[in-house]
């Protein structure tokens, strides 16, 4: 048993950015453990992905290819990757922590009698894996014990895609044996939820509101602040789940990813699902009553206080500064 296998995920026919981050994590782990890294592209037509990966500093690239992998299913991916892992017998299997990986990697690990260490943000010598707990309020360290491969998925943004070193590698193909009857679910064509009329991605200023606003009737106070600043209004998931603002204004892993000049978070605690959507902002301001809220870990400026007092005061201050 040796080596590190990193399973890449395809986005629009290419290797997705978070997969390069997973490869960076695998290379980091490779330096710590002295084990070679093998990149795996999986699907029905993986040539382009494999070629991209072969231009990186990896020991080898394997194409796991089968017609029954044309569209992702948890059964198809689990069956195919189980066979590959049994053949390669790696010490580590690294994934990007995407929605797709969350859908099959825990089952794949369990099928091999293993447990996925999911959503890892750092890997220290040992290796010791760090994950977030309690929605980012605390961190926890995990170590893998026992025999068998260690399964790890890496959080978006935790490793740098541009840290992946270039190189050249040989590509080989692994044809898994899959029977149609093994695939029990039938996936449909992906579709967009609703017509996007708000492009938060290009807004220079964003005021974003979270659970701290308590009820829909209180929204005007943040709307007034957004209007005073000339900013777009956005929200964290619970606000859109409640139907207080349309889904298209949601920032985070299930909504839009934004990086404005100014992101002003009002009453948002800063769960990771939200932070991944906005932490690339140039300047982040947090207004929250809880000084321990994780949003302050990414904020440049913070006001700890009651948003129902702070936000109207800020709206006045913005107006009088104009």
């Amino acid at each position: 048993m040796s080596g590190i296998v990193v399973v890449l995920e395809e986005r629009d026919g290419r290797v997705g950015r978070i997969s390069w981050e997973a490869l960076a994590a695998a290379q980091h782990l490779g330096k710590q453990t002295g084990e070679p890294v093998t990149a795996v592209a999986i699907g029905a037509n993986t040539e382009a992905q494999a070629n991209e990966a072969a231009a990186k500093s990896v020991a080898a690239v394997i194409r796991v290819e089968h017609d029954l992998l044309t569209r992702y299913t948890p059964d198809g991916f689990t069956v195919a990757l189980q066979q590959l892992i049994e053949k390669e017998s790696p010490s580590y299997v690294v994934f990007p922590h995407t929605y797709q990986v969350r859908d099959y990697a825990p089952a794949l690990a369990a099928r091999i009698g293993q447990v996925l260490v999911s959503d890892v943000v750092a890997i220290a010598d040992g290796p010791v894996f760090t994950r977030q707990l309690l929605q980012g309020r605390l961190t926890g360290t995990y170590r893998h014990s026992g025999k068998g491969p260690c399964f790890v998925s890496v959080q978006a943004g935790a490793f740098r895609a541009d840290a992946v070193e270039a190189g050249t590698a040989q590509i080989s193909t692994f044809p898994p044996a899959i029977e149609p009857a093994q695939i029990r679910t039938k996936p449909g064509e992906p579709f967009r939820g609703s017509a996007q009329t708000v492009d938060l991605g290009s807004a220079p200023l964003i005021v974003s509101v979270g659970r701290g606003i308590k009820e829909a009737d209180n929204l005007p106070i943040v709307q007034e602040l957004a209007a005073a600043l000339g900013a777009e209004l956005a929200a964290s998931r619970p606000i859109c789940d409640n139907g207080w603002l349309p889904m298209e204004r949601q920032v985070g892993s299930s909504g839009q990813t934004v990086s404005p000049k100014l992101y002003l978070a009002v009453g948002i605690s800063g769960a990771i699902q939200h932070l991944v959507g906005m932490k690339g902002s140039q300047c982040i301001v947090a207004i929250n009553k809880d000084a321990e809220a994780p949003i302050f870990e990414v904020a440049d400026y913070g006001i700890v206080g009651d948003l129902f007092e702070v936000v109207p005061a800020l709206t006045e201050a913005v107006k009088s500064a104009k």
């Binding site: 948890p74 969350r102 089952a107 447990v115 959503d119 170590r143 947090a286 400026y301 006001i303 500064a321």
Partner: protein, 256 residues
Amino acid sequence: MKIIVAIKQVPERDAQVRIDSAGKWIEESDIQYALNESDAYALEEALQLKEKHGGEVIALSAGPERVGTTIREALAKGADRAIHVDATDLGSRDALGVARLLAEAIKPESPDLVLTGLQSDDLGLGQTGVILAELLELPHASLILHVEKTDAGLTVKRELESGWFQNIELPLPAVLTIQSGGNKLRYATLMGIKRAKTKEMRRLTAAELGAATTPIAVLESVGLPHKQRSTQILPGTPKEAAAALVEKLKFEARVL
């Protein structure tokens, strides 16, 4: 349809958490607990399916005695009966170990559908439902917002990333992990709370279930997160802090 909903009791969202003296978990004595958010949506989905198609909803939860209050809440909202896997050692089990306990409790019931939340608000591993499907040898789909019963089984709406969705067809029995936001949550009525007291709550112990395992990946220590940026906290009254912030944004950050 016989539906089992696996729910978890977690520290309340606004609970002020303190790391325990051993640095292994949090001080449990001084916090309030609540039903995990996405599990509340799983319960809601189960109750709506039962209202439409008939059948039975069984709430299942593992944990120490305090979990009983969360189970009662599920019964008050409309679950027909409950199973409490009485275990004080969940912290020393990994995701596979906990899922094995739940799977052993589920097997004798032979449900048509197993629902659970997408992930817990405390450990956030997001794996229990998917591992349950594997252990029960059932098909699954995760991140589900909507469930429709069909002649052949189910059609479910799965959330993808960045505002995309997908419909998936799957046969029954099956396991689904439910994303929050798909339904409007109900409150327990006074009548519901009253009736919950008379509903069956079966207690099983980990020893009875016989799912002892050696953990492979467990939490070793907890700590405070590293700050990613240095935050200037602006003090004073709301008015003073607001004025100071506008100054900073104009002349220091230069974003206004």
